[in-house]
Amino acid sequence: MDLSLSTRTEGDRTVVVVGGEIDVYTAPKLREQLIDLVSSGQYHLVVDMEGVEFLDSTGLGVLVGGLKRVRAHEGSLRLVCTQERILKIFRITGLTKVFPIHTSVEEAVAATD
């Protein structure tokens, strides 16, 4: 399964909907996408992972890279994820402490903490 990416704007947030497999093969596309968004001045990102079927540590690295980029501009990167398999990988690596993880895009878009 390949990676699919689409982006839309909701208020001051940019929602990136990711589907398919984020692995060492497809992660560069996601990295490009995140870099493009930050370069074009979009610093408040919501990454919707509900359609993600596979995520490995390379994908985690890309998300952390995105987080560092938006933080450099006082931005935010929020995740939407309710899949236990995927959440487990965030827990194993301690990244649940680093990313705000929401159960829906609405919740993530509304969040301000």
Binding site: D23, V24, Y25, S57, V64, K68, I89, T93, L95
Partner: protein
Amino acid sequence: MALVELLLSPLPSHVRTARLVAVAAARRAGLDDERVDELRLAVGEACSRAVGLHARHAPDVPVRLTVADDVSGLTLTVSDAGPAAGPVPDDPAEGMLADEPHHGLDGHGDPDVALAVLNGLVDDVTVKTEPGATVVTMRWPLPAGAGPRTTIVAQR
């Protein structure tokens, strides 16, 4: 003992091939679906790690995956010829946040984070390091009576 050995030149797409092979062998051996998901990710981590190291340090040397099954279980090994694996980081998140922003820009992830995921995920995993080589060995027990599935429905 059924043995599959896969030699891969260090390309990201080959990590997918490795996952496919390992998952097919595990299903055939009768591993249950939840464990198969675990194995898919674990083999992916071990191979991404090895492929990344080879791409940087030994581009002409193939990465080696073996899958063997016997009655007692399924054994997978991933061998690389990169610099020996360091200790598994206690707090991978911290390390990832501390990395230079250009880190991983060659498209490959952090080999230590891959190891941390492997360790957190798989109950029976050993990482044997020698200077310039690492072998990751993972084992999964097979359910009793596991075996290839063939459906035979005879209604005479």
